[in-house]
């Protein structure tokens, strides 16, 4: 469905020169759930943003190919790109506190996201909005629709965000650390809701996270990024047999109930990892 080849994201440095945040990665996503894992600054969020062409200037992203359902996204005009955003590819962002407009009611925002792509009359959009709120398990959707973002809790906000992003029925959802800003207790319920919706609609999902275990439980396939490259790709259920030293180090830095260790390993980074070629992660 989505095929990315040789993607680079570069930022100019103040005194000349460039920082390469993503360095030539290639991967593809079908109707499956793909997890992208890596530490801070490994380029995972930028990968998500550059698919939607929303890397903020002065940063720029170039790729040999970013193909979605047979169309090359890089050559589309801004107007055509707006047709793709939301309607075909959608994105859930990290913190619902900042990603919902503070002066619009929740209901209006969901309705707007739906009406951007359909010429649905207001009544129909309203029905759809209520239906979406119910789908993300919000009780009393009629009442919640009239609330402003500051009146809802974090978990509720993120569920609203998911409702908003799924309202136009996109084919691919990019979730950029959707639960990092949430309490551990609500993380699971939000993820389950997202998982169920994605499965029911047969959508593709790119799940960006730094939490290996979370990704392993929720995804079919995992890409591990380091320093702007994909260092390893493996099926989620075989994650514990990963071979790359970086993945091994990530796994070993987590405490495990079944293998109690007296002291967790400190990760040693090998500069040679930065020089290795990126692994092609085609399904």
């Amino acid at each position: 469905m989505l095929r990315v080849e040789d993607l680079w994201v570069r930022f100019p440095k103040r005194g000349g020169g460039v920082v390469e945040a993503v360095r030539g990665i290639s991967f593809s996503v079908g109707r499956e759930r793909v997890g992208i894992v890596g530490e801070s600054g490994s380029g995972k969020s930028l990968t998500g943003r550059s698919i939607l062409r929303l890397v903020r200037p002065p940063g720029e992203s170039v790729a040999r190919r970013i193909e979605f359902e047979g169309t090359e996204l890089q050559t589309l005009s801004e107007r055509e790109m707006r047709q793709v955003r939301g309607e075909k590819i959608s994105m859930v962002m990290q913190d619902p506190k900042f990603s919902l407009n503070p002066v619009m009611t929740v209901g209006d925002q969901i309705m707007e996201s739906y009406r951007l792509h359909t010429d649905a009359p207001k009544g129909e959009a309203r029905a759809r909005m209520i239906e979406m709120l119910e789908a993300v398990q919000i009780r009393a959707p009629e009442r919640v629709a009239r609330l402003y973002p500051h009146e809802v809790s974090g978990g509720m906000g993120q569920r609203i965000m998911i409702a908003m992003m799924l309202a136009p029925d996109p084919a691919l959802l990019i979730a950029d650390e959707p639960t990092s800003a949430l309490d551990v207790t609500v993380q699971m319920s939000v993820l389950q809701i997202m998982d169920r919706l994605v499965r029911e609609r047969g959508m593709g999902l790119i799940f960006i996270s730094h939490d290996l275990n979370l990704v392993a439980t929720f995804c079919d396939r995992v890409l591990i990024m380091y320093g702007g490259r994909i260092v390893e790709t493996c099926p989620a259920d075989a994650l514990h047999e990963a071979k790359h030293p970086y993945t091994r180090a990530l796994l070993n830095s987590l405490p495990r109930l079944d293998q109690p260790a007296h002291r967790l390993e400190v990760m040693k980074r090998d500069p040679a990892w930065l020089e290795e070629p990126s692994v092609d992660a085609f399904a």
């Binding site: 707006r82 955003r85 990603s99 407009n101 503070p102 002066v103």
Partner: protein, 308 residues
């Protein structure tokens, strides 16, 4: 007596409760809270009363005026205040100054309202477009704004009226054209802080275009600072309108306009002081009222206000 007091007490209790039982009650309580903050500022309250008085005066003009504002009585011209039934005296054509001031409040309110609904809108349009688009759009729009700001307000308004022709409509147009640049500045500054917010990115990645983002998502966030600026700007608008009237470029006779009335009384200022002084006092009081009200409103509406 005691029954009335207890009823008032229960209303107060209902409004100030910590556990509102309905959304309506919560909203009313919030409004009541704002009102108490406003009321605790005696100057703001004074301004509020002056403006309410002005509104009432304009609305009830036909009933509270003692004379026809344009009826002349040359036999009794320049009567001092209190004589011959002229409450505030009469002018050089024997017209009742009090009645003319009362009817003049309509003209002033017309000018103020029309400017208040047009200038901020132009400013908002220009400022948010400049702030959101950035680049050369920003450059061009803000330099145009700078050009407007470079001239003293009255001088620019004079130039516009001179070009368009004297008259109250053109005066309003000219004042609007000189009043928008500060709003554009404020709107642009607000937009720059909002532009990179995550919720703007969120609506962008839903596929919203620039126009929709500006009108639907950025405008509502700029409104509060624009409103404050507007109330503080009213006095300036009144003064500019009076200035144009004084110079004979605003409202044309016999329309009762305060600035034009001062201008007519200028010739008699030493011997018949009331002809120029009365409308002058009115302008002073009303501008003061708008300024005090604006100050008080800013304290109430500012969401970042420190709770005292």
């Amino acid at each position: 007596m005691s029954e009335a007091t207890s009823e008032r007490e229960s209303w107060r209790a209902w409004l100030t409760t910590d556990v509102p039982r309905s959304r309506r009650q919560a909203r009313l309580a919030q409004a009541y809270l704002g009102w108490t903050v406003f009321r605790s500022n005696p100057l703001a309250l004074l301004g509020f009363l002056i403006i309410v008085g002005l509104l009432l005066m304009a609305a009830a003009a036909p009933w509270i005026a003692t004379h026809d504002p344009v009826a002349q009585d040359l036999a009794e011209r320049l009567s001092p205040p209190g004589q011959n039934g002229f409450l505030l005296g009469s002018d050089d054509l024997g017209r009742d100054i009090y009645s003319r001031i009362v009817y003049g409040s309509k003209v002033t309110l017309l000018i103020v309202t029309l400017v208040a609904v047009t200038a901020p809108v132009i400013g908002l349009l220009v400022g948010t477009a400049a702030g959101y688009m950035g680049g050369w759009v920003d450059l061009v729009l803000m330099r145009i704004t700078d050009i407007f700001l470079a001239f003293p307000r009255l001088v620019l308004a004079l130039a516009f009226v001179a070009a368009l022709g004297a008259g109250i409509e053109n005066a309003i147009l000219a004042i609007t054209l000189t009043a928008w640049p500060p709003y554009a500045r404020i709107a642009r500054a607000e937009t720059l802080t909002i532009r990179k917010a995550d919720y703007i990115a969120a609506i962008q990645l839903q596929g919203a275009g620039a126009l929709r983002i500006i009108t639907g998502h950025i405008w509502p966030l700029c409104i509060s600072s624009i409103i404050i600026r507007m109330t503080l700007d009213m006095a300036g608008v009144i003064l500019t309108a009076a200035g144009l009237g004084f110079l004979g470029l605003g409202a044309q006779p016999p329309l009762p306009e305060w600035g034009a009335m001062i201008s007519a009384g200028r010739r008699y200022i030493l011997d018949q002081w009331w002809v120029a002084t009365m409308p002058g006092m009115t302008i002073f009081i009303v501008s003061l009222g708008f300024n005090l009200l604006g100050d008080g409103l800013r304290d109430v509406l500012d969401p970042k206000r420190a709770s005292r």
